[in-house]
Symmetry: C2
Subunit: 546 residues, 2 copies
């Protein structure tokens, strides 16, 4: 199921006298949110009670006031809204409330409602000969209105508001949109041929690592691989999380940086695993950035011909790019990632708190991939980023979980269609042909990979617009969003002449003509067949244009 942007609140609806207000207050307390009551807003604005509005101005006037209150409350964040019994009668109210978050209907029997309402004579609909029969009739009439809710709970005479609130929290745990409100990590299931594994995206997950993987089987050992720098902090936190679940991981540290990704280091690690007594049933946990993930995955793929593997990526780029796809590798003196394997993890655990120590430029690297995936496959996510990216930081749990989780989901969908890189997976190379040429020519100005890919996406899209493959304006939207993420959308002082030779030695172009990913629009991509060097040289020129 597609992950949707996070809910800003929870909306309670239901018949009068079902206890919505009390439940809203209990639920707000439980989740650390603010309780808001549309009826209270109406009374405040009108300067009189609901009953007085009904008596003096009629129901129509009340409904207008209610719509205005719904429109006001629907823009808020971090709230539990309790609505009046008839608030869902108008479809525009339903639409506005839905945008805020899930609608939860509080149900009660006619008898319960009657008993509760009797205690409060202000209820305007309760006057007549046989009020209980009137309630039952109206309940029946309103049934289709309340079935519009996403969830329903039942309130009884005996139940406490706190109890109902707890039931709602349990229901919401099944809705990924409210993970940010309830403090739950997001669970993104990945299914690629021959493997299915969960990605957990949340805060404070290092210490809960042991809960997020299967419990150790009798005699099963764990090896935790991390870097010298991260080992003492994140490595130890993860180790504690594993200890808590009964694992007794041995710790293996490698030097920081790209130079750890080599055969000799992998061999040394395998030797350490032997000496620590690890066998085919052992699990390897990798705690660190892309280098640690690639290297540890390579070790896990080869040790005793393959052992179970869990990645705990601690950089945004490793989370949004390397954690899906099963590609593991080390470098050769002759080039990067030339020796490797496909080895799917058993689980990926992303503790977004580890991003607290991430330098700004590395954040931007991750954003480049996130923006790429949104542009390829999810117009809603792209629009969400256009609206919210500037304000997303580590305090925005719900937003960050959504962005990282949905990103992984998009990549997993592409990988599932082409696990061994035979065709469609090439769409993930969007921006990379021009991007790689810029990056390879750029050693002196040290352009980051994400920065280069950002420039590449914009240049390739401007070229595609010029040739009618992509609707006009798409590149401008891309460029604007990249800038919001702190990425250069246009180059300053780039010598494009230096990038042209790099394009000529591009592996994909050397092998013949390539299938170039071009956007059919934001959120939709296709492969343009049979693109050659001349076209890509022309696309490269678009790097300098606006």
């Amino acid at each position: 199921m597609k992950l949707r942007p996070p809910a800003r609140g929870v909306v309670l609806c239901g018949f009068m006298a079902t206890g919505k207000s009390a439940v809203a207050r209990a639920l707000a307390r439980r989740l650390g949110l603010q309780a808001v009551e549309t009826d209270a807003l109406i009374e405040q604005r009108a300067g009189k009670t609901i009953a007085e509005i009904f008596q003096q101005d009629g129901e129509q006037a009340f409904r207008d006031l209610e719509s205005a209150a719904v429109a006001q409350v629907a823009t808020q964040s971090g709230v539990v809204v309790s609505t009046g019994g008839g608030a869902l009668l108008r479809p525009e109210n339903v639409a506005l409330l839905r945008q805020m978050g899930p609608l939860v209907c509080i149900q009660a029997s006619a008898e319960t409602i009657y008993q509760r309402a009797r205690r409060n004579s202000r209820r305007p609909l309760l006057h007549g000969d046989d009020p209980q029969a009137a309630i039952a009739r109206l309940l029946k009439e309103r049934e289709p209105v309340y079935t519009q809710a996403d969830f329903a709970v039942t309130s009884t005479e005996q139940g406490s508001p706190a109890g109902v609130a707890e039931e709602i929290v349990a229901l919401l745990s099944g809705d990924s949109r409210t993970a940010g409100l309830t403090g739950q990590p997001l669970l993104v299931p990945v299914e690629v041929p021959g493997a299915a594994y969960p990605i957990h995206v949340g805060f404070g997950l290092l210490g809960r690592l042991g809960e997020l993987v299967p419990p150790p089987r009798a005699g099963a050992r764990a090896a935790l691989i991390s870097s010298v720098t991260l080992g003492g902090s994140y490595g130890e936190a993860a180790r504690a999380g594993l200890w808590a679940a009964g694992w007794e991981p041995t710790l293996h540290l490698v030097p920081d940086g790209e130079q750890a990704k080599q055969m000799a280091v992998a061999e040394r690690l395998c030797g350490e695993l032997v000496e620590a007594g690890h066998d085919r049933g052992s699990w390897v946990f990798a705690v660190g950035g892309g280098v640690i993930g690639d290297l540890s995955g390579f070790v896990a793929a080869l040790y005793m011909r393959g052992v179970s593997f869990v990645t705990v990526p601690t950089t945004l780029l490793a989370q949004v790019d390397a954690s899906v796809g099963g590609k593991v590798a080390v470098n050769l003196p002759q080039g990067k990632n030339l020796v490797g394997a496909f080895h799917q993890p058993r689980a990926v655990v992303m503790d977004l708190e580890t991003l607290a120590t991430l330098p700004a430029r590395q954040w931007a690297e991750g954003w480049a991939e996130i923006i790429k995936h949104a542009a390829l496959a999810d117009a809603e996510m792209f629009a969400y980023l256009e609206e919210h990216l500037a304000e997303i930081d580590l305090t925005q749990h719900a937003a960050l979980q959504y962005v990282v989780g949905r990103n992984c989901q998009i990549k997993a969908e592409v990988v599932a269609q082409d696990p061994e890189e035979r065709g469609w997976r090439a769409v993930l190379n969007f921006g990379h042909t021009v991007g790689h040429a810029l990056e390879r020519a750029a050693t002196e100005w040290s352009l980051g990979h994400g920065e280069a890919v950002g420039l590449g996406m914009v240049a390739e899209t401007r070229w595609a617009e010029a040739h009618g493959h992509t609707p006009a304006g798409t590149a401008d939207r891309l460029a604007a969003l990249l800038e919001k993420a702190g990425l250069p959308a246009a180059p300053t002082g780039l010598d494009l002449a230096a990038a042209r030779p790099a394009l000529k030695t591009d592996k994909k172009l050397l092998a013949g003509r390539l299938a170039l990913p071009v956007l059919s629009g934001i959120g939709s991509v296709r492969l343009l067949p049979d693109v050659g060097l001349a076209e890509m040289e022309e696309a490269l020129q678009w790097t300098a244009k606006r």
Copy 2:
């Protein structure tokens, strides 16, 4: 389809006057065999013609003489036998001839038979009022007799004996039993989950290597890995075989011996492949023994995350053991084969001529595995080895092809049932628990792996006999066959006390109790569950007993 022991000859049968004798002579010329005619043997023995025997002694006497001739000819090898028209009337004749090789029926129409028979008045059955009607009636009557043949060809008035012989050769190419007679390599299809590939077993295949793999696709490159010693001879022959098919393989040599099986050598090879311009579409060919196969397969599994791989094993042990199963690996300083992968080859090509340079002790290593596989799964092959092993050498093409091919087939059947070594594949460890203990304790007396496994099989089987798991006498048959192959069936001067500690550190026993393969009889194995150290120490003691 199960490979059967090789045919010793071809038997032609069919109605009189279908041209059997002439076809037999043509076929014998074509295949370099000797033509034998049962009717000629009968006339020789009786000292009179067939017609005279019929006239003077009656058909019954002729049939008795014919049975004697069949019994005589059925023991011969390298012959094409043509039988009389009624030779298949007696079931005992059919049974005897079947043991020699395939029965080929030469068919002809009644008209053709009549025209041919007319020219030869000696035919005893051709006297009467309407001989053509008599022929047609007898043809109809004999039909069920001739349908016992394995193949049928039709002889016409116009067809030449050489033409019919050529048709028979084409038919025989579909029968693995006659591969030795027709000079064809054997083709053993291997199907393991996720992979299917052919094993070609024959003579002179290095120079035909290019014919035995798919033709190179546009731009596809080949890398040929061999050892310093073999590179100049077998490596160059294989390279020529690839050139002939349009490949242009680069040659990569590694040092001889076990020390080449290490990460640093694999890394160096990968670097050489990069520098030679190899990409994901390149094919790796490994020409050499087990070390070359394991190392090259490891390189092929990792290079660019996996490229196509063909093994050309040049030792008997590599052919009968390492070529099936997809296990590739290198060693660590801490132990053998600790780092590796499962990477199935696209084809395996075994040129048995490469065994010409194999030292006697390495032959014996291979025989130990062959005898193990026969004991596990094929009583017919075991009996064949009991009868023929002593005489099998490089001149015995058919026998050697059968033994190597059937051995690979047995291993492939076990692997197919358990490709990732979760359970049943443990039967391949028959003899290995005691064998490994002997081998590990034996550095000083340098007991070969095959020799140790041979001793282990006998000791484990004697133990199993003593406990009623295996019928009495089985270990004696094993021991006798091992001795025929030049393997020690009983130890001389072995200090078993030195092997006991090695048993204690056996990986499988350390992890708990093991499932021990025991023979239910020759050709049939089961896993005896829950065997512990005490039992294996007792089995070890059987090494010294008879």
